[in-house]
């Protein structure tokens, strides 16, 4: 039987996500976020989620929607400055937050996807990020030992994908998506264009389909821009 990982939509892809699970969610700010899947999680009202994502969206879009609905128990992120509700929930203690260096977050996803239990990084040595972690000296420099993530699902957004799950990303919408795709126990990929095997050149594929379990063609992408900065036309 040919390998075909296609599911109909976000509802079909997310149907076995349950309360209390750990989810990796791709994207940097609102760039490259799996919009359809996030909307589906809101609709499903799954609760007590632990979300691993670089940011928390904005107050009314992206993961911010899950926060507004109090569906998230814990966030593991590197920067949450765009989301006032997030900052409020964090400062008040309603939301458990682990802020980690962006490179560490990316590398802990990568480690999981590469079958490595841990990585060593200089980021955070001598800061509160180092609390409780093993510090090791290599060639006279200190490094923190950071563990590979363990995540039930990874939900990623790509530009194009084929029915075998091979993915191509666009511009800076790539960011953490390929790493999370490799790391998830079950990886859900939503794409803008879904094509037949053979239409994506093997040399051009960014993420091999072996890592992807479910793929669907998304719809109605808003692709919001957080900071619209331009030069005037003369």
């Amino acid at each position: 039987m040919p390998i075909n990982k296609v599911v109909a939509d976000a509802e079909a892809a997310c149907n076995d996500i349950r309360d209390g699970m750990t989810l990796m969610v791709g994207g940097f700010g609102l760039c490259g976020i799996p919009e359809n899947s996030i909307a589906q999680l809101v609709k499903m009202q799954v609760k007590n989620l632990t979300c691993i994502s670089n940011n928390a969206g904005v107050d009314d879009f992206g993961l911010g929607l899950l926060l507004l609905n109090k569906q998230v128990k814990k966030m593991i992120s590197s920067y949450v400055g765009e989301n006032e509700e997030f900052e409020r929930q964090m400062l008040s203690g309603e939301l458990e937050v682990e802020l980690i260096p962006q490179g560490t977050l990316a590398s802990r996803c990568m480690a999981a996807g590469y079958g490595m239990p841990a990585i060593f990084t200089p980021a955070g040595v001598g800061t509160e990020v180092a609390l409780g972690k093993e510090v090791r000296d290599f060639n006279g420099r200190n490094y923190l030992m950071e563990m590979a993530f363990d995540s039930d699902f990874a939900i990623v957004k790509a530009w194009k994908g084929d029915t075998k799950g091979n993915l191509i990303f666009k511009a800076t919408a790539r960011n953490l998506n390929p790493l999370m795709a490799m790391a998830g126990k079950i990886t859900i990929a939503e794409v803008e264009e879904l094509v037949e095997p053979g239409e994506l050149e093997p040399d051009q594929i960014h993420l091999p389909g072996i890592y992807v379990h479910r793929i669907f063609k998304g719809k109605n992408y808003e692709k919001r821009i957080e900071q619209r900065t331009v030069r005037a036309r003369v």
């Binding site: 940097f28 670089n54 920067y79 260096p101 990316a106 200089p122």
Partner: protein, 218 residues
């Protein structure tokens, strides 16, 4: 007179050399790109996954999939390349990025930097800052010399949660240029019209002053 943000950016731009790979943090550092010396070419690295960051797009050409680390819409240049976040921070940690320019809330005479958290008030997160300061070959900090209450931000020891330890080697503030080495701030240049006395009075950390302190030329 103390420099404004553009003045600080202009002075820092003088430190950028031809052919460098440079990471610019959000705030004043991003302005540095507008004032690079004529005739030099640098590659700007955006830590969210782009080498060869171009200027803001023309009105109407914005692409939601093409943003910088500050989440602003940008463009690419001939020779630009995209990559994922692990590669991005990999090239940072492996010291392929020559120069990092970022802001700070506090810097200590030992070269410690604090720029990501004010406990109980502002906890936006460190983003890529800890990776950058732990790895960069050369770090230049752009900052205000004092806070709004007039307290020095060039300190003996940082009071705020640290971003990195013993990593800053150069500070450009609104008052002057300082090398940070051997446990002290070394005054290199003063901002035009700013006196050495003013700088001394506003620097809480150890400050070494040479016999002659030239004015910045910007």
């Amino acid at each position: 007179m103390a420099l404004d943000k553009i003045g600080i950016a202009k002075r820092i731009a003088q430190e950028v050399q031809d052919g460098m790979y440079v990471n610019l943090g959000i705030g004043i550092p991003t302005l540095v790109a507008n004032y690079l010396p004529k005739g030099i070419e640098v590659e700007l690295q955006s830590e969210n996954g782009l080498l060869g960051m171009g200027p803001f797009p023309l009105e109407g050409d914005e692409d939601a999939d093409l943003i910088n680390a500050g989440k602003q819409t940008i463009t690419t240049l001939p020779g630009s390349v995209f990559f994922d976040s692990a590669m991005s921070f990999g090239m940072i940690r492996a010291q392929k990025v020559d120069l990092t320019i970022l802001g700070a809330m506090e810097v200590s005479e030992e070269g410690d930097i604090a720029n990501w958290k004010v406990p109980g008030k502002m906890v936006k997160g460190m983003g890529g800052a800890m990776d950058l300061v732990a790895s960069a070959k050369h770090i230049i900090v752009a900052m205000q010399h004092c806070d709004k209450a007039g307290n020095s931000k060039l300190l003996a020891k940082c009071s705020l949660p640290l971003t990195g330890v013993r990593c800053v080697t150069k500070v450009v503030s609104d008052l002057g240029v300082f090398d940070v080495k051997n446990g002290a701030f070394h005054l290199v240049e003063r901002a035009p019209g700013v006196s050495v006395e003013e700088i001394v009075s506003k620097t809480a950390g150890v400050l070494i002053i040479p016999d002659h302190v030239p004015e910045m030329v910007i």
